[in-house]
């Protein structure tokens, strides 16, 4: 199947982007400066990412709240229209995470549900609604100075606060702006009509925001300790194993997968997602074994070199009794390398 292209594809190629297949889309991996420079730009100033490959499933109507409330784990009654919420869609049988999602509650009877690229069809099948992914681009503007730089282009959009959602005019284009992201930094995500996407992107870049690819987005989210579906979440992995019990609205009524999750809560989790800090620069990689006292106690799900900390970091599922501070080793391609379980996030920001 041919890869899908972002509405910003030509703009990326004009900037010399290297692209890579991602969830069925051909998306920028890095621009000319490279992943490390883009990562540092986001940690110290401001970066802009094209995340148009994320899905948008629009669920509308008077039944929409109830539908989402009984389909997704988090309790929507904790927020109001004009707010966003991180939540999970579970497998009804085993409670594993079909997708992790941000819900943008745009208007009283309108929710924009944002799945991961490769899960959009599955979320659509579970919730119904309309797939409006191809009609818009999503620009993530992130970093300690993201709002200040964005303010010179779109002052109202720049004022959308953390986990707020607002319909905002940006350079004459009707956009939805949310104070969300995936880097650990403050910032916003802007859903802009596809036809307007390139000029909005170019105006934000001209305001001194560094274009950054999905390579930097991955090292940033890893430093922030954020899970990636297909690695830390997915078939066989529940929110409780991933340390995301706060995503589960236990005080609301029934929801998809609740019974399976309650059973796991009662018997206790068999493994727990933890951060592991590695000595030295060598990047840990997915599937490498975590050992303690010569015994295998877990497996790496994501790992890389941390550009901020300048050593290797990993997310790993480990035996649930292992706690921050405990010594472990990670087998880096045949070289057992000392490390330590650490609290997440690896890098404190914002």
């Amino acid at each position: 199947m041919a890869l899908l292209l972002s509405p910003l594809d030509a703009a990326h190629r004009a900037l010399g982007a290297k692209t890579s297949p991602f969830g069925g889309w051909d998306m920028p991996l890095a621009y000319g400066q490279g992943t490390l420079a883009e990562h540092r730009a986001c940690r110290t100033d401001a970066a802009i990412f094209d995340v148009s490959h994320l899905g948008t499933v629009r669920v509308t109507g008077s039944h929409a709240f109830e539908l989402l409330q009984r389909s997704l784990t988090n309790d929507l009654s904790k927020i109001t229209p004009g707010r966003a919420q991180y939540t999970h869609l579970l497998d009804p049988d085993d409670g594993s995470v079909v997708d992790d999602i941000i819900v943008w509650w745009v208007g009283v009877d309108r929710f924009d549900v944002m799945p991961n690229a490769s899960n959009t069809s599955g979320v659509l099948a579970a919730l119904g609604g309309d797939d409006v992914t191809r009609g818009r681009a999503i620009l993530a503007v992130q970093g300690p100075h993201a709002r200040r730089r964005l303010a010179s282009v779109a002052p109202v959009a720049a004022e959308v606060g953390h986990f707020e959602v607002a319909e905002v005019d940006v350079l004459g284009a009707g956009c939805v702006v949310a104070g969300t992201g995936y880097t650990g930094e403050p910032g916003v995500e802007i859903a802009v009509p596809a036809a307007d996407a390139t000029r909005v992107w170019e105006a934000i870049v001209a305001a001194g925001v560094t274009p950054a690819g999905l390579g930097a987005r991955d090292t940033l989210r890893l430093e922030a300790g954020l899970p990636l579906h297909g690695h830390e979440l997915g078939p066989g992995i529940t929110p409780l194993q991933a340390g995301l019990g706060w995503v589960v609205g236990w005080d609301k009524g029934d929801f998809r997968g609740r019974a399976a999750l309650e059973a796991e809560r009662a018997r206790g989790i068999a493994r727990r997602l933890r951060g592991v800090a590695i000595e030295g620069r060598r990047p840990p990689r997915e599937h490498q074994a975590v050992t303690a006292g010569g015994e295998v106690v877990g497996e790496v799900t994501s790992g890389n070199f941390s550009p901020t900390l300048e050593h290797g970091i990993a997310l790993a599922f480990v035996r649930p009794d292992l706690k921050p501070g405990d010594a472990v080793e990670v087998d880096l391609r045949g070289t057992p390398t000392p490390g330590r379980i650490v609290k997440l996030p690896f890098v404190k920001t914002g």
Binding site: L29, A30, G34, L36, G215, R281, R282, R285, F305, R333
Partner: protein, 126 residues
């Protein structure tokens, strides 16, 4: 793509600079560009005996790990210790400060079997 005339090359994107009975080796400009930001280089041990085509070291970038193959057979006599703290030299200066190691040649004839600059350029442009 920078392909210096005075070097020899392999189809696996390593270069070799002849220095008497020794060769200094590294990865090409094309290779470093394809790898992306290099964050770790496992330099080989001095004294190691290597065979042409065998893995001599591993280079890790933010996106992947790659084996580096010995372009010729020989004994490692010198390594670039600076790469431990500054692996980005492979990106910044692949034919200069990004050199990986020096081999004492086992068989000088192997060098003449390597690609010259024109041959390597044809390979990467093809």
């Amino acid at each position: 793509m920078n392909v210096p005339e005075d070097l020899r090359y392999t189809s696996d994107h390593e270069w070799a600079r002849i220095e008497g009975t020794r060769v200094r080796i590294g990865i090409t400009d094309y290779a470093q560009d394809a790898l992306g930001d290099v964050v770790f280089v496992q330099v080989p041990a001095v004294g190691a005996v290597v065979t042409a085509g065998a893995t001599i070291t591993e280079v890790e970038s933010t996106k992947s790990v790659s084996d580096i193959y010995a372009p010729v057979s020989g004994t490692v006599v010198e390594t670039n210790e600076d790469l431990a703290d500054a692996p980005q030299r492979l990106n910044e200066d692949p034919y200069g400060e990004g050199w990986i190691c020096v081999l004492e040649l086992a068989d000088e004839a192997e060098v003449s079997a390597m690609l010259d600059a024109a041959g390597y350029r044809a390979l990467v442009d093809g």
